[in-house]
Structures are given as C-alpha cells and as structure tokens.
Amino acid sequence: MQPRKVLVVDDSKLMHKMYEVMLRQYPLVYALDGRQALDRLQEHADIDLVLLDINMPNMNGLEFLAQVRNDGAHRDLAVIIISTEGREEDTQRGLEAGASAYIKKPFHSEDILEKISQLEKGPSA
C-alpha cells in the first residue's frame, strides 16, 4: 500500500530538497531533528513512512526510533534509516532498534525507491 504521507527527518536542508525532488509522488512532511519529528507524528496521523537520519542535534535518529517503538500508536510505523554511518554494527544497531531498512549515504535514488516499493508490497513480497 502506498504511504499516505512520508516524514523526512534530517538536519540537512540539502537532503530535504533531495527528497522533495526524488519523492514527488508522495506528500512529504519535514523535521530537522528527532524532537520535531515526534511533534510531526502527533500533528499528522496519516504518516505511514519515516525516512530517518541518525546524526542530528537535540534528539538523534536512534533516540527518536526508540520512542516511536515504545509508543503503541506507532509501533508498526515503517522507518527507513538513511545515514552516513555505514559500518556493519551501525546497520545492525539500526535494525535492532526497529528500523524496517537501512540505507547508507551517499545513495542512488533507486535504492530509496526500491525500498519504499518493497515496503508498499508488504512483508510477503
């Protein structure tokens, strides 16, 4: 199922612009850190997918993810971590924290679109 709304969480305005161009087909909501992202989730009940950076001020991506997974309302929210942290243990930590997928920056746009497509098809795909 296509996400109704996608939440982009990244402290880089360049990346916000990148996602805006890349994901024209989806309505996007933006946040510059984890705290803002929690607010956006409260404001927009129709967010189905989060594209999440890790290194951010105030509240980083993993802290945000921990809060989201502890919150019953967003337990099943799809979250793709997109980060420059590219070591195997970083990927493992992200997935164990509850991310649906982990993509390393810099990325090709096909990588993101393919992951979103996989999530749209569901776990059986």
Partner: protein, 256 residues
C-alpha cells in the same frame, strides 16, 4: 399453333426453372469458396505450412532470442537512464541549495552537506582567500576529531600540500593522493576566472572506497558555483551591514 397460343405458352412458368437458377447461384458460391480455400492453401505453403516442424521451431527460437536480447538491452538502458537521472538530480539539488540563501553561514553549511551527503566525504577542508593577505582562511574543517593535521593545523593555510598549492595557483581540479599530497581531491573555487579558494577532500567514508565518475560532475559544480554563492552571500552581508549602520545614523540624526 397460332401466335396467341405461343405467347401464352411463353408466359406460363416452366416448372423447375427457379430451382436451376438456385443451383447456378449455389455453384457460383461453391466456386468462390474453392478459390478462397486454394488461396489459403497457397499462403500456408508460402509461410512454411508444409515446411518441417524443426524449421518452424528454429525460427521461433531465433525470434525469442532476439526478443530476449532486446529486453536485456532495454533493461541496461533503463539502468543507465536511472543513474543519469540520479546524477542530474544531485547536480540540480546541489546548485539549487547553494544559491537558495544569501547567508554566508548557510552557504558554507550547504558546501559541507554536499561534501558529506552527496560525495561521501568524511574529512575535508574549505580554504578561502583572505582579502588582505596572501594566505587562506580555513573556513571549514570537518571530520578531524583528533585535531587537524599539518599543514591544516594553523589559524590559516599558508601552503604545504603540493597538489593543493598548485591547484590554488592554476585553478585546475586535481585528484590524488599523490606522492607529495595526502589529498584525494583539490577542487579550485572560482569567481569569474579568479581563484578564491579550494575545497580539499582528505578522506572518504569507509563504505565509499573511491570517488566515482559521477562525483567528478559534483566536484566541477562545486568549483563553479560554491565560490560564487559564497561571494554573493558575503557581498550581501557586507552591504546589508552597511545599510543598517547608515539607517541607524539617519535615525540618530533625526533624533528618533
């Protein structure tokens, strides 16, 4: 027999004549059908209907092979197009964001974001020429958490990396490392053919082993746009500051 009786006989219907006409019409239709069947048979022979089954199978296999080859070529072209689209998107977004602000700090942040997020640089330095001196201001120093290494450990850069020094002189983008330089890339920053600084890439992220061909486009873009964006922002900031000072003076003179 009289003339009258002859006319009456002709006017009388001859039994079975209509059946003969119907028979003729039916024979005509049979003839037409026979011609169609003959034509179909000839066509079937021409198209191999009488050829061997093996020949037909071979022909179909050949067609299938051609179709598969076409599909492979199209898939390859699609991948190339997607990559090309991705490269263009990176260039568009980088250019857009560099010129989206007139705040020098934001332009500098955008240069850093391009280096980190699009090029995959972990350690890099932005050098900008000082207005009133021969050395270069170290405007950005990223990723050196244990302290900057020589020759970038001072207040400013006065030279010391051979590749960077040559690039600052002749404005040519160079890729390293070389025996006398640790830099992976020295990107000259120009404003109207004047070299005003350089972006020096020293280390890439571990999962980005080398600079790829598409990264060269981004380095060229930075060379052409980063300095002009920074120059415009600094000029605007200076003029804005002067304008505010003048406005304050005018208010003071008016006694406001």
């Amino acid at each position: 027999m009289t003339e009258r009786s002859t006319t009456e006989a002709a006017a009388r219907p001859i039994p079975g004549l209509d059946l003969v006409a119907e028979l003729r019409s039916t024979l005509d239709r049979v003839g037409e059908l026979a011609r169609i069947v003959e034509l179909n048979l000839r066509e079937a022979v021409e198209h191999g209907g009488n050829g061997s089954a093996d020949e037909r199978v071979q022909e179909l296999e050949s067609r299938l092979s051609t179709a598969e080859s076409d599909v492979k070529e199209l898939a390859s072209r699609l991948v190339d197009s997607e990559h090309q689209g991705g490269r263009l998107m990176n260039l568009y977004v980088a250019t857009y964001q560099l010129h989206a602000t007139l705040d020098p700090a934001e332009v500098q942040a955008t240069i850093a974001e391009i280096a980190i997020n699009l090029l995959g640089a972990e350690q890099f330095i932005l050098l900008l020429r000082k207005d009133d001196a021969a050395d270069y201001e170290i405007a950005l120093l990223e990723g050196m958490y244990d302290g900057a290494l020589p020759p970038y450990d001072g207040e400013s850069y006065t030279g010391g990396d051979a590749m960077v020094d040559v690039t600052l002189r002749d404005g040519v983008l160079r890729l390293g490392p070389t025996p006398d330089s640790q830099a992976l890339a020295a990107v000259p920053l120009r404003v109207q053919n004047e070299i005003v600084g350089a972006l020096v890439l020293l280390k890439l992220l571990d999962h980005k082993p080398i600079l790829r061909a598409e990264d060269r486009d981004l380095l060229d873009l930075l060379s052409a746009h980063a300095a002009s964006a920074m120059f415009a922002a600094r000029l605007f900031a200076t003029k804005d500051r002067k304008l505010r000072t003048l406005e304050s003076l005018v208010k003071l003179a008016r006694g406001e």
